[in-house]
């Protein structure tokens, strides 16, 4: 058994031995697990299943909403918000994008739908319980689409022109449950648990050698204070060598997946204390993202008002 041919033949015979059937009980274990395990949701790529249906759904949703709002406005005494509190002025742009047709007039920010959206001001509640009461009001320019888990409110948005590197961008809202110990080897169960305070997350991010971070800076956004810190993927990182070719900095508190959309990706994080809950407003871009696009993204962030 010394020639290559002999060795190869023997090796193939050896490898042909052994079990090749997964026991039925194993399928039962898997089935039981998937029935209680949420699928992670990709934010950024917007490659939700049935994506081709999203524009149609969004159009239908916007059309229904428009009928409701217009109908309400033409009714005698209509035009109010119908509820207590301040009444924002109509904020949805009458200029429709090529995709959905938004309401020409609205009595206040409307709920952000999944899929392409018209320019305007929207409100979204992106988190699951117990943080589902936290809302974000924001103004989007034309040409954006919202994305998120099926059956849930959107958790972010990106331009319809693209979110991936080398020039794309996106933003999202998240809570962070833990950090990946090695963002490139995120299959490994090496999560770093995070304490409840803003500083806990900031400190853990800054301490991770898997990426570069900027010096933390105190900030206020949307009426709440916190810390701004940026995460930059390591220079020269070969994403193809990472698990699934992806770089995961954190594990989201609600199970969604957010990962770098290409080499040199940058996460800009506003880590805020919203009445005791650490909430993150994130934008993602690249050194190659055009300055005008970056300014547009920043304008969206600047428009955010948080409703705790």
């Amino acid at each position: 058994m010394t020639t290559s041919r002999d060795l190869e033949r023997s090796l193939r015979a050896y490898l042909d031995e052994g079990p090749s059937v997964l026991p039925d009980r194993s399928y039962d274990v898997v089935r039981a697990d998937i029935d209680r395990t949420r699928q992670r949701v990709v934010i950024g790529p917007w490659r939700e299943p049935r994506m081709s249906n999203l524009p149609r759904i969004a159009i239908a949703a916007a059309a229904v909403l428009a009928v409701v709002i217009v109908g309400y406005n033409v009714l005698p005494g209509g035009g109010g918000t119908g509820g207590p509190g301040p009444s924002p002025s109509p904020t949805v742009s009458p200029t429709a994008t090529p995709q959905p047709t938004a309401a020409p007039e609205a009595t206040g920010p409307i709920s952000l739908p999944l899929g392409p959206v018209a320019a305007g001001t929207y409100v979204v509640h992106p988190f699951l319980a117990p943080n589902d009461s936290i809302g974000f009001q924001l103004t989007l320019p034309p040409g954006w689409e919202a994305g998120g888990p099926t059956g849930r409110a959107p958790v972010g948005a990106a331009p319809t022109t693209g979110h991936e590197g080398p020039g794309g961008m996106s933003f999202g809202f998240l809570t962070i449950a833990s950090l990946e110990g090695d963002p490139c080897r995120w299959y490994e169960p090496a999560d770093i648990e995070i304490g409840p305070a803003v500083d806990d997350l900031v400190t853990a991010l800054a301490a991770n050698p898997g990426y570069e971070t900027t010096a933390p800076v105190d900030v206020a956004l949307g009426g709440f204070s916190g810390t701004r810190i940026d995460v930059q993927l390591p220079a020269g990182l070969d994403l193809a060598a990472c698990d699934a070719g992806e770089f995961h900095v954190w594990a989201d508190g609600d199970g969604q997946t957010i990962y770098a959309q290409g080499p040199e990706g940058r996460f800009h994080l506003w880590i805020l204390d919203v009445r005791g809950t650490t909430v993150v407003v994130m934008t993602h871009d690249f050194p190659g993202t055009p300055a005008d696009d970056q300014a547009e993204l920043q304008a969206i962030v600047d428009s955010i008002q948080i409703q705790p």
Partner: protein
């Protein structure tokens, strides 16, 4: 070939994923066993891989590449399973010899035992490339994709794995050393 099931499973259809798992589970078990050389560990690795696949399915960009994508997850789960059981694995006994010869012909039971010992001395990464290349008959380019490593690394691991196997077999075939003879 599994595209319809993958599409439905990506939409959160557990029934579809269950059906998908049953179409690929046996092959996963075969791969995992041949890397780990232990049926219980392989079973655990396949279960973990399928659950991970369900959880991460929406990150799969091309539904037609489900199987290679799953094999990549499976391989990582094999590595992880072996690491989790390092101490236990170190105490694994050599499996009982199967006296039936494979179709390709291991020449004797002794050869088979020698080969088994030699194979178990390989690293998991070396075993994986051998399994994907010699058991699944995949070309090195496809092995590289399924393992998530460069083609050059696959070639290198194949080369070193075969060299290590040969060295082990030759060492086993060598007569006892002088010192051992003296001790005897």
């Amino acid at each position: 070939m599994h595209r319809a099931l993958v599409d439905r499973a990506k939409g959160g259809d557990g029934e579809a994923f269950d059906a998908l798992a049953r179409t690929v589970g046996d092959q996963c078990m075969a791969i995992a066993y041949r890397i780990l050389r232990d049926a219980d560990l392989a079973d655990d690795a396949v279960q973990a891989a399928l659950i991970t696949a369900w959880r991460e399915l929406r990150t799969l960009r091309d539904p037609d590449r489900f199987e290679p994508w799953l094999h990549r997850i499976l391989t990582h789960e094999c590595y992880a399973e072996a690491r989790r059981r390092t101490r236990w694995s170190a105490e694994l006994r050599i499996l009982p010899v199967d006296h039936e010869q494979g179709a390709g012909g291991i020449r004797s039971v002794n050869d088979r035992d020698q080969l088994d010992r030699a194979f178990r001395r390989l690293t998991l990464e070396q075993r994986a490339v051998l399994v994907f290349h010699h058991y699944l008959d995949l070309p090195v380019v496809e092995v590289a994709e399924r393992l998530g490593i460069p083609v050059g690394t696959v070639k290198s691991r194949l080369h070193h794995a075969v060299a290590a196997l040969r060295a082990s077999l030759e060492a086993d075939a060598r007569p006892p050393s002088v010192s051992q003879e003296r001790l005897a």
